[in-house]
Symmetry: C2
Subunit: 297 residues, 2 copies
């Protein structure tokens, strides 16, 4: 009997990253990265997705008959139950497009769709920083604030598929995403230095020991304690995983985040709840998408 | 075959309310209300609990052999898995007392323990405002801010039994409970009128049409939208039930709560998620406690 392989597709507005995973979490061959061309006609985007799957398979000398299923982690919002992309700003030609069914019809294998933040944290729950934990919250810190809840290795989607979408929650005079986002890091840095820098620049400056950049990450950590405390108080998880591009700066915001958080959570979880950085690195997106197949089998 | 009855005990720092429920949610006989004497020796409190159960049974001509189980909803914090009262400020003589085992040994029937806010909302999920809903959040607005999550008619306790304990979460310069509590209502009223009044007084004044009291409830509703938005964004429930003594003022804070909330939750839930007042009234505490037995059978 051949151990079947799984395909994960990380579908963003800018790039598609597709890779193959064994049942025990090993990446097989070299993942395929291509430009999404997110504003081009939907047929072209679908062709790029199917091409990336076929190329990944031919790279390891396999065919679709070896594939157990395909998981797609897409930038949202999505209709998860229906397998449909909703009015996603990064994929304007795909609004209300039945992505899951289209890919399923093309390849004739089961296809699962969920949002990229959910997939990323699902991957960490199965093969990464939260492996073997029952009750997990994940934060994805990138352009915006993503969050996911994983209970017993299943993504908790809520009643309308928007569970853990905490980005519009109120904070100060706006929303929490005004601070917990790439733009938020830039805004904090500007309030300290008067200069415009991207969050990546502020990270590199911190690596070089720049005081204003280090202060920015310290303040960012204190702001991050706000959504962490609300979500830990709500879910009471075993562990919180922090991933996404901004998590590269984890060691610069860790101490202020932890110190501020202690004031705002219940005594027992403040002793017990672990907070850790994500472990799966650059491939976390497609590994997590592939985990949708594992979670459903 | 005799249809077995269920006993619910609502154990607060001030009073014990014990009643009998049929399997289909009917209150049988007259519930028994006695003073807890929360600061007296633990043996005396236990005797009052067992007396209240025996008196409830004799009132309807039943005995313990007719009882399927006893549910106790207690003021917390609790070790729910262990069935133990922790360092509860309202029950100082009961710290670390094994309440569940003590009552179980006395009566020889299964006993279930959970916190009063969880029980209250569980009751609403089984027989009240959220009957037949899968995914429910409940808020209990009284002296403090209680919250509960009920998934598939089971209380979601989290990893350390503190799921939904959102009261210490940050808001403005303090915690959300500084506003969403009896003391919070008094503080808002004082900021408007300069006068000290209890939340009950502010409710009665609003009933009489007092402008400052009406303004207080309007502001309270806007503050209440803060924990509502964070918890709705996190859980994406079918329905939110608002109970507790302060929910008597529901119609005074409803509009400002709903209007403010719309700004801070995702587009889909903002259309679909229902928010409703609790329905079970004065007996909600012991009915909810009794529902612990139904939920476990």
């Amino acid at each position: 009997m051949i151990s079947k392989i799984i395909i994960g597709v990380d579908l963003g507005g800018t790039k598609i990253l597709t890779g193959i995973l064994s049942r025990d979490g090993k990446v097989l061959g070299t993942p395929v990265k291509i430009q999404t061309g997110g504003t081009e006609p939907v047929e072209m985007i679908i062709k790029r997705i199917t091409d990336s799957v076929e190329l990944s398979l031919s790279n390891i000398g396999s065919s679709i008959s070896d594939v157990m299923g395909i998981g797609i982690g897409a930038t949202g919002p999505l209709d998860i139950d229906g397998g449909v992309i909703l009015e996603c700003p990064q994929l304007p030609t795909m609004h209300f497009f039945p992505l899951r069914k289209t890919i399923e019809d093309y390849f004739g294998v089961p296809v699962y769709l969920n949002n990229d933040a959910n997939c990323l944290i699902l991957g960490e729950c199965i093969f990464g920083a939260a492996a073997n934990r029952k009750n997990v919250i994940g934060f994805t810190l990138g352009t915006g604030l993503g969050c996911a809840i994983i209970l017993d290795r299943k993504i908790f989607n809520g009643s309308t598929g928007t569970a853990a979408e905490i980005w519009p929650s109120p904070y100060q005079s706006g929303t929490i995403e005004d601070f917990i986002s790439g733009a938020g890091v830039s805004k904090i840095y500007k309030s300290i230095s008067g200069e415009d820098k991207s969050s990546l620049d502020v990270f590199h400056l911190a690596v070089q020991g720049d005081e204003q950049a280090l202060q920015t990450w310290k303040e960012f950590g204190a702001h991050l304690a706000v959504p962490l405390s609300w979500s830990i108080n709500m879910i009471d998880p075993d562990i919180v995983v922090i991933g996404g591009s901004i998590a590269n700066a984890y060691n610069f915001f860790k101490i202020s985040m932890e110190e501020t958080l202690k004031k705002w959570i219940c005594p027992v979880p403040s002793q017990k709840t672990k907070i850790v950085p994500a472990e799966l690195g650059d491939f976390a997106g497609f590994i997590g998408a592939a985990c949708l197949v594992i979670g459903n089998n």
